[in-house]
């Protein structure tokens, strides 16, 4: 195929490729520069490595934590809680949105409550949940769920409502029942919105999980961060934050990947 392109087109493709590579290289340079500068600044005592930590100490911390297996334990716990959080938040939120779509009366009654709950910073409920449920994984998952469910309900319900009225009318002329309208058009046409809500929920659930782990303080990256802060082990805090960033990106990319698969399928 490639050989059949005209010179002009080949030149165009070459330029595009150069730009793309330049972007990637720039990204790598920025990251490397930050870490290099950080390392040098710490070694030259421009900054206090005890407070600011430094890349080499982070690497050592990672190695030490992997040796006793606690790195995988804490990362695994956080990822596990987050996945449970955003999946259950999306599923339960979607179910609630179906109820609202089904009964316009319920939707009208509940509207102000949803608005207030949406505006309320859910992390403020952390201590209450901790007291009610106790210092268990349950509390952390409920936090993650709370953070994502309200947004899910509002987004998915909005998407259900914006389903094309004429498409619904078309099905009605065939004699469709409400269940059929939901199954054949309202739900399928909202799937892209539900998946994009799932993506938002990855981030929101992670916030819930970290706050939950701060409070419960038993395991997870949130626990490592709060523990490290309390005993002034900034290496541990920085390491945990970096692992957290990697884990978050990993989960987000997984959901994006699922989304792409889905879009292709349709």
């Amino acid at each position: 195929m490639y050989e059949e392109y005209s010179n002009e087109h080949r030149e165009y493709i070459r330029k595009e490729r150069i730009t793309k590579n330049a972007v990637t290289i720039s990204r790598i340079i920025i990251l490397s520069a930050i870490f290099a500068l950080w390392e040098i600044a710490a070694n030259m005592k421009w900054i206090d490595p005890f407070i600011m930590s430094q890349p080499s100490r982070i690497v050592n911390t990672v190695i030490n934590l992997s040796k006793d297996g606690s790195l995988f334990l804490h990362t695994g716990v956080t990822i596990y809680e987050t996945i449970i959080g955003f999946v259950s938040g999306t599923v339960l939120g979607t179910l609630a949105a179906i109820v609202l779509w089904w009964s316009n009366f319920t939707a009208r009654v509940l509207d102000p409550y949803l608005v207030v709950l949406n505006a309320l910073p859910k992390t403020a409920l952390g201590p209450i949940i901790l007291v009610w449920i106790g210092g268990t994984t349950g509390s952390i998952i409920v936090m993650a769920l709370l953070l994502s469910i309200i947004v899910t309900i509002l987004n998915v319900y909005q998407s259900f409502r914006s389903c094309d009225e004429d498409k619904i009318k078309l099905l009605k002329t065939f004699g469709a029942t409400k269940v059929q309208i939901l199954r054949k058009v309202v739900f399928p046409s909202s799937i892209p919105e539900i998946i994009s809500t799932l993506k938002i929920n990855v981030g929101l659930s992670l916030v819930g999980v970290i706050v939950g782990e701060f409070l419960v303080s038993k395991a997870g990256l949130g626990y490592l961060i709060i523990y490290g802060g309390q005993v002034f082990k900034m290496d541990l805090v920085m390491t945990s934050v970096i692992i957290l960033a990697v884990a978050a990106a990993f989960m987000y990319l997984s959901v994006s990947w699922i989304e792409k698969k889905f879009v292709k399928m349709r």
Binding site: D166, K169, K172, T173, G175, A176, Q180, K184, P188, S189
Partner: protein, 256 residues
């Protein structure tokens, strides 16, 4: 004469908190079997409301609607509705789109499936049945939409400005094709449109409605002198075409 659809003194009011709107007032009309009737009128004269009333989607405030001499109660089962845009579902294949009505009416079986496939085959979509709507051209999508309506085998077709979303060339070609399909399948058709030329070229009869609240203003039986096989595009060349066009245009009394 064999009346398929009969409206007797139908009035339709819409209610909102801002007040009451009379969409249709005291409207009576008959449609005969096998006829192609167009309803034209100024925008907002209740043309689409009329189709919703005939299909039984909404109930008239007063008056009576009969289909085959039976009053319409709930949804009319022998009426097929074709909306303004094709409204094919992007996530279903063409075949599954055309059988959605059968699926909803729980009539999807080997025979009805074969019939839907026959229609697709016959009207040039056979090889596209496993394609998705976004892989088809506007005209092909419109044809698929008509087949979706025909698949449930309705007696009467209600066409709600079905060509208005197409560009002019496609519109001429597809209105010709759809007219031929409707005639071949021997259906009664009611077309709502604001395109006078389209109405004159396709119809046996045109009913002109007044401004809201819609009433019947006039009726025109279209008789065009053309050669034997008259189709919408050939009809546009008939000498009387222009006369009907001008007459209806004047009756619509458009002020911009």
């Amino acid at each position: 004469m064999d009346k398929v659809v009969e409206l007797k003194n139908v009035t339709m009011n819409y209610h909102t908190l801002d007040g009451e709107t009379q969409a249709i007032k005291n409207l009576s009309l008959d449609i005969r079997r096998g006829e192609f009737v167009s309803i034209v009128g100024p925008s907002g004269c209740g043309k689409s409301t009329l189709l919703s009333l005939i299909s039984g989607l909404i109930k008239s405030s007063t008056g009576e609607i009969l289909i085959n001499n039976e009053p319409v109660k709930g949804l009319a089962s022998n009426v097929g509705y074709m909306p303004q845009r094709d409204h094919l579902f992007e996530w279903l294949t063409i075949l599954r789109n055309t059988t959605i009505g059968l699926e909803i009416q729980k009539k999807l079986n080997k025979d009805t499936m074969r019939n839907a496939e026959r229609l697709l085959e016959e009207y040039g979509l056979g090889e596209f049945k496993y394609y998705y709507p976004n892989q088809l051209s506007g005209g092909m999508r419109q044809r698929a939409a008509l087949i979706r309506t025909l698949a449930v085998n309705p007696e009467i077709l209600l066409l709600d400005e079905p060509f208005s979303s197409l560009d002019y060339q496609t519109r001429l070609a597809i209105s010709e094709e759809i007219w031929l399909i409707i005639k071949k399948e021997k259906k009664t058709a009611i077309l709502v449109t604001h395109d006078i030329a389209e109405a004159v070229s396709m119809s046996d009869r045109i009913i002109v409605l007044t401004r809201r609240p819609g009433e019947v203003k006039s009726e025109h039986v279209i008789q065009l002198t053309t050669c034997e096989n008259k189709t919408p595009i050939i009809c546009r060349e008939a000498p009387e075409f222009r006369i009907y066009f001008n007459k209806i245009w004047k009756e619509l009394d458009v002020h911009v």
